[in-house]
């Protein structure tokens, strides 16, 4: 079966600390991968997408970066967190062109 794992579920980090959120997909190959963020009172904003290993596209300029070191692994990182990085981060995958998008359970990040 096809599943997506995202961790950790919650994270509290001080301003200026680094960040690493990991997302892995099982049961498929060469998925399109996405990172979204939902900030307080806002919708789901696309941060990054990847259509293949090492291929990362950024949708908005920000303090974050993404990497795809393996086919089914997508990592969201920051060298120094800002207060404005707080939010609910969602990883998702899609089989290119298909209409099914599977979302992870999300990570609640609070920067203090």
């Amino acid at each position: 079966s096809q599943t997506i794992h995202q961790w950790p579920a919650t994270l509290v980090q001080p301003v200026g600390s680094p960040l690493s959120l990991e997302c892995t997909v099982e049961g498929t190959s060469n998925p399109n991968l996405y990172w979204y963020r939902q900030a307080a009172g806002r919708g789901l904003q696309l941060l990054f997408y990847s259509v293949g290993i090492g291929q990362i596209s950024s949708e908005v300029p920000q303090n974050l970066s993404a990497s795809r070191p393996q086919d089914r692994q997508f990592i969201l990182s920051s060298k120094k967190l800002l207060l404005s990085d707080s939010g609910f981060y969602l990883c998702a995958w899609n089989r290119g062109g298909a209409l099914v998008y599977t979302f992870g359970s999300g990570t609640r990040l609070t920067v203090v």
């Binding site: 579920a9 696309l46 997408y49 998008y101 999300g106």
Partner: protein, 113 residues
């Protein structure tokens, strides 16, 4: 720039009545539109979709209508149930950006008994 807009942040409906959630978009190149239901601290759950070449799609209590000339779509839930209370997101799929979905800001639906 927000390409998908949900202008009503909240909606309250009585159980058994119809819930109508609205969504507007600006990009005429979107090929599919999807509706998701989301609870706090969870990922969105897919409800229903519609192709840009259709004007209606129905699945049980959920019906989505698309007015392409007005760049407007709506989700109808009939009859509404208390378990439908959640945040509903409208999403549109572009054919670039790796087929990423563009989401609206969501509408919080409350169905009261």
């Amino acid at each position: 720039d927000q390409q998908v807009k949900q202008n009503s942040p909240s909606l309250s409906v009585q159980e058994g009545r119809i819930s109508i959630l609205n969504c507007d978009y600006t990009n005429s190149m979107f090929d599919y539109f999807l509706w998701y239901k989301k609870y706090p601290a969870e990922g969105p759950t897919f409800l229903i979709s519609i192709s840009s070449i259709k004007d209606k799609n129905e699945d049980g209590r959920f019906t989505v209508f698309l007015n392409k000339s007005a760049k407007h779509l709506s989700l109808h839930i009939v009859p509404s149930q208390p378990g439908d209370s959640a945040v509903y997101f409208c999403a549109a799929r572009g054919t670039n950006s790796g087929y990423a979905l563009n989401f609206g800001k969501g509408t919080s639906l409350l169905v009261t008994p």
